[in-house]
């Protein structure tokens, strides 16, 4: 009759203890010939070193992709990827896109309708018809 246990695994809460940035790798593809890659080439030369130094937890991989538009592909810890084509963009616009990818979690974009999403139960409790003064019919 002693209490026996069911088995369960604990759930991670990123940020409560330690924070792990979800973006783990960024592939940057550029082209030396295409005109749409001018901004990307400028970004790689001027803004990327500082951005990469500011985020040592992201692995950066720069490689040419000839005769294609420039693209940044970000890989996330949940296994998903996000690709952003940065054709015909200025270096600072590309930096904004890189920051957007860095801030993303890798989850699919979904519409959030509720203001609060939490695993804790409500502070004030859920209304019950069986407690309190009851209902007059």
């Amino acid at each position: 009759m002693t209490v026996r246990a069911l088995q369960k695994i604990s759930v991670a809460r990123n940020g409560v203890g330690a924070f792990v940035l979800q973006c783990k790798k960024m592939d940057l593809h550029y082209c030396d010939w295409a005109g749409s890659s001018k901004g990307m080439n400028g970004f790689i030369k001027s803004l990327l070193p500082k951005f990469a130094a500011a985020h040592p937890q992201i692995e950066f991989n720069v490689s040419p992709r000839p005769a294609k538009h420039p693209v940044i592909i970000a890989h996330y810890i949940n296994g998903r990827e996000k690709a952003v084509c940065v054709r015909n963009m200025e270096p600072f616009e590309i930096l904004k896109k890189a920051e957007l990818l860095r801030d993303a979690s890798g989850e699919k974009l979904r519409r959030v309708t509720k203001p609060v999403s939490s695993i804790n139960e409500s502070v004030r409790g859920i209304w019950s018809p069986y407690h309190g003064e009851g209902m007059r019919v």
Partner: protein, 430 residues
């Protein structure tokens, strides 16, 4: 709690430093090996990159010196400078750790201190099944890390929930520090594994083999004298005996079964439940090894902070782990033991008694105090749930989330220790 003398165990980790004296292993054996152990005095490998740097190697690599990956290196020059005979090494040499972007990214993502070098982190990613040499795999680090994780998780649970029943405590230990959980922790850090281990893989990838035997990280526990009968006749082993004999999860210490599991490797290249369990074990050992590496280089407090931040910050609802058999009887025994008035179930409110979906709200009272309350579809059901809620509220008593643990006293200038609540124990069946 007995203080763990971990400084004795990490002595053999210093073997990997060049010029260090070979320390004899007087510490408890960290690993259970299925193959014969290699010599512990060999701190330098036979195929070392130091040989490559010597001027005796000719300028144009002979075919035996170049690493073999099946391609023609004259037509397709390799992208990275691998040391010669890289493919014949079981794991990448430590010098390659400084060239891996993945490894450096992992180091920064976990915010590991500068004191922890990349070479040790690379070693923490090499499983014993990839490289059998204990100087180059993570088995010793994983042993240190496992001891630390179990210690910190155990003391936290015992101080935060002093009345927790033993079986629930074991399940909670597993929920925070078991193989599956630590596998999830490693995945949440962005650790990926190499398809097959070898000297040419990226040092930032976890390396383990499905086809070669590995090491089992031994824990603390005793092998029972009646182990054979336990297995063969399925004898009952009580929770009290588990506290004395078994390991930190309440599981039987069975070296024979462990050796047999280690020897059994998969013969399929596709994924199935067994390959998944092998991968799970490798990831879990990687997590333990990172904790062990942090303790070795940075000390006790950073390792404790790391365990708290990454493992104890996870959420596990202990109230969902309880499985009661006769809750009403157990509650009445508890009230008798604690000198409360005998519990009485009273109907607080109800609706729809003759309908298809009745709701009865039952409260269990001891004198004038309500011990527990629950709603159910029938009177018996509601009474049982109310008794379970009452028992849970007793067993899950907690002085708070920020409770002091014994390891706080190891810090300098710690305030005097105030004893934690020590409980008599759970209700035992008759």
């Amino acid at each position: 709690m007995k203080r763990l003398r971990l400084d004795q165990w990490t002595g053999q980790l210093l073997l990997a430093r060049p010029g260090a004296a070979s320390v004899s292993a007087s510490a408890p054996r960290a690993v259970l090996r299925s193959t014969t152990p290699l010599s512990r005095c060999a701190a330098v490998r036979c195929q070392s990159t130091a040989a490559a740097a010597s001027p005796s190697i000719p300028a144009q690599g002979t075919p035996e010196d170049e690493y073999i990956d099946g391609t023609d290196h004259a037509r397709f020059p390799p992208l990275e400078n691998l040391p010669p005979r890289a493919t014949s090494m079981p794991s990448p040499p430590p010098s390659r750790a400084l060239e891996s972007a993945k490894l450096a990214a992992l180091h920064a993502r976990l915010a590991l201190p500068e004191k922890l070098p990349l070479q040790t982190l690379a070693r923490a990613l090499v499983d014993a099944s990839a490289d059998p040499s204990p100087d180059f795999n993570n088995s010793t680090l994983a042993f240190v890390g496992q001891s630390l994780i179990h210690y910190h998780v155990g003391e936290y649970l015992m101080c935060r929930y002093p009345r927790l029943p033993m079986d629930i405590l074991y399940a909670a230990m597993k929920g925070y520090a078991g193989h599956t959980t630590l596998h999830h922790v490693a995945r949440s850090w962005g650790v990926e594994h190499a398809a097959a281990p070898g000297g040419e893989v990226d040092p930032g990838l976890l390396q383990f083999s499905m086809h070669k035997p590995g090491d089992a990280i031994t824990g603390f526990g005793y092998q029972r004298a009646e182990l054979k009968y336990l297995r063969k006749y399925n004898w009952r082993h009580s929770i009290s005996s588990r506290i004395v004999f078994d390991d930190d999860f309440g599981e039987i210490v069975d070296p024979e079964a462990q050796r047999e599991t280690l020897g059994r490797r998969t013969d399929t290249q596709y994924g199935d439940a067994f390959t998944r369990s092998l991968a799970e074990r490798a990831y879990a050992n990687c997590t333990r090894a990172v904790v062990g590496a942090l303790y070795t280089h940075a000390g006790r407090e950073p390792a404790k902070a790391f365990v708290r931040a990454h493992i104890l910050s996870r959420h596990l609802d202990l109230s969902q782990l309880f499985a009661f058999k006769k809750p009403a009887k157990e509650l009445s025994l508890l009230c008798a033991r604690e000198d409360f008035e005998p519990p009485v179930a009273r109907l607080l409110s109800e609706t729809g008694r003759l309908s298809r979906t009745p709701v009865f709200v039952v409260g269990i009272f001891s004198g004038k105090d309500k011990l527990g309350e629950a709603a159910g579809p029938s009177l018996e059901h509601a009474r049982a749930k109310a008794a379970m809620n009452a028992l849970k509220s007793w067993y899950l008593y907690s002085p708070g989330e920020h409770v002091r643990v014994p390891s706080d006293m190891l810090a300098e200038e710690a305030k005097p220790w105030e004893p934690v609540h020590i409980d008599v124990g759970e209700i035992i069946g008759r």
